[in-house]
């Protein structure tokens, strides 16, 4: 049976996909700005964050309307509560992209400490995990969501490798590199946090689809 309510839910899903696209785009552009020492590009990322902030409010308002006016139950209720959580996670990812852009501005006037290899890899992981989480949300694919959750350890390992290299290969050996190494260290930290938010989204999506709580229950992933 067709429900007008389903049209509203589809619209909400579309808004979240738009939010996710903006978040992914912000991460891509911020990392490019970092790689290319491009202050203007970094500033564009910072300036564009207001768009995500506005969309976050629109989505939040939409979710509250759906709850207040339709009193959703069961799968509908889980969908909307998940949308609220995803919305917050995506907005935070947007903020982290801004953080990366600010690090780009900090290092832009100095030569890069080294060619960036692992940071773009971590950025790719962050974008991939965010994209897969949203894909899982749209398609209700719990296997894909679980894949995102399990891939977090790879992102953690990548971040550890970046930290180790910047600290022991550069800052410990030559303290004068700190002003160029620390922003990269922080950028890696920001990107790793993006991965954490993607994992949180994936956990919520598993609950949305199957009503199984995997957050804090890793045994449920098996």
């Amino acid at each position: 049976m067709h429900r007008h309510f389903d049209d509203e839910l589809r619209q909400l899903r579309g808004e979240l996909v738009r939010m996710a696209d903006m978040a992914q785009s912000a991460i891509t552009q911020a990392v490019e700005a970092l790689k290319n020492l491009d202050k203007d590009a970094a500033q564009r990322v910072i300036d564009s964050d207001v768009g995500m902030d506005s969309l976050e409010l629109v989505i939040d308002d939409k979710c509250l309307d759906l709850i207040a006016l339709h009193q959703p139950m069961a799968g509908d209720l889980r969908f909307i509560t998940t949308a609220i959580k995803l919305n917050a996670e995506l907005e935070r990812i947007g903020d982290l992209a801004v953080d990366v852009a600010q690090r780009a501005i900090e290092v832009a006037d100095k030569p890069l400490l080294k060619p960036l290899v692992d940071i773009p890899r971590l950025a790719d992981a962050a974008k991939r995990m965010t994209g897969q989480a949203i894909e899982a949300f749209v398609s209700g694919d719990t296997a894909l969501a679980k894949k995102v959750i399990l891939s977090d350890s790879e992102a953690d390992e990548l971040k550890r490798r970046i930290e180790k290299e910047l600290v022991y290969d550069y800052m410990v050996k030559d303290g004068s590199t700190a002003d160029r190494a620390v922003p990269l260290l922080l950028a890696a930290r920001h990107l790793e946090r993006v991965c954490d938010h993607a994992v949180s989204m994936a956990e919520d999506i598993v609950y949305m689809v199957s009503a199984v709580v995997v957050r804090h229950h890793p045994e449920e992933l098996k």
């Binding site: 049976m1 429900r3 009193q71 959703p72 139950m73 069961a74 799968g75 209720l77 889980r78």
Partner: protein, 291 residues
């Protein structure tokens, strides 16, 4: 099957049903769906392998369910699913419909209420019912409550007066009618009449209260009062409520059962039923996809 079930109200004349028409049907009673493993309480009422027929047509199919004391159980389902039919079996109201047949067991505290040895009047004193439309007697407020006691042989006026006051207080009506006890009950508002009917049931000290869509004809304020009352009453009684209102079921019940086409599809904790039902048909019904 469906036509038979849908016609049940008409056959029963429930829209104009008056409890005085039924021997012993003065009180209210209900129980909540039981899950002894979860709640640790023995069921007050248990249905085992219940089949019910209107003539050759089967209206209920192998119903197995229990209702625990001091809990509210909601029975939900689309029109014609058998939920009202089922609740009326619990105090043998079905016997008023000719040509019906009940198979299986319905146990109240372990005793089979379907057995011919069980007196229907005595049963209806223990298991009372409130109907969709308030059905006060065309008598005074006081007489409406006193009636059930008097037909049960109580003659002590002082006791009756105390019981009337106590029942009206329990039904959250005393404050509104204490100065109108000698007025006609028909002059009360719909919500007040419904609470009067509840008070009438409480007067005969039931153990189980059955509510068959008790708020269907009430405004939101009266509905809220009845719902608050149900939550108060569950401290003492087992309560079963049939409702079409999903939000009402979610608000007042501890357990919820979903009926469909005479089958009990799913029963469980209300929060789980409304957040993550196990059966797709339950999900479709409570989210309005059913059809």
């Amino acid at each position: 099957m469906h036509d038979a079930v849908i016609d049940y109200d008409k056959q029963m004349g429930m829209e104009n049903f008056h409890p005085s028409l039924v021997k012993g049907a003065v009180g209210i009673n209900s129980g909540s769906l039981c899950d002894a493993e979860v709640f640790g309480a023995a069921p007050k009422i248990t249905a085992r392998g219940v089949n019910f027929y209107y003539g050759a047509k089967k209206a209920l199919n192998n119903i197995n369910i229990g209702f625990s004391p001091r809990q509210v159980a909601a029975i939900i389902g689309p029109s014609g699913c058998g939920k009202s039919t089922f609740i009326r079996l619990l105090n043998r109201m079905h016997e008023l419909v000719p040509g019906t047949r009940l198979e299986g067991e319905i146990l109240l505290d372990g005793l089979d209420i379907v057995s011919p040895a069980c007196d229907a009047a005595a049963l209806r004193k223990r298991v009372g019912m409130v109907f969709q439309k308030p059905n006060p007697f065309p008598k005074t407020v006081f007489e409406n409550i006193a009636y059930g006691l008097e037909v049960n042989g109580v003659t002590d006026r002082h006791f009756i007066e105390e019981k009337v006051v106590d029942s009206l207080k329990k039904a959250a009506l005393w404050g509104e009618v204490k100065d109108r006890l000698k007025d006609s009950a028909l002059g009360l508002s719909g919500g007040q009449q419904q609470r009067l009917c509840i008070a009438r049931c409480l007067a005969v000290e039931p153990e189980v209260l059955l509510f068959d869509e008790p708020c269907a004809s009430l405004d939101p304020i009266s509905t809220a009062k009845i719902e608050e009352l149900i939550l108060e009453l569950k401290r003492e009684y087992a309560i079963v409520i049939v409702t079409h209102n999903m939000q009402q079921a979610a608000r007042v019940s501890d357990r919820t059962a979903f009926f469909l086409m005479g089958d009990l599809i799913e029963e469980g904790r209300t929060d789980i039923i409304f957040k993550a039902p196990r059966d797709r048909r339950t999900e479709d019904y409570i989210t309005g996809r059913f059809g």
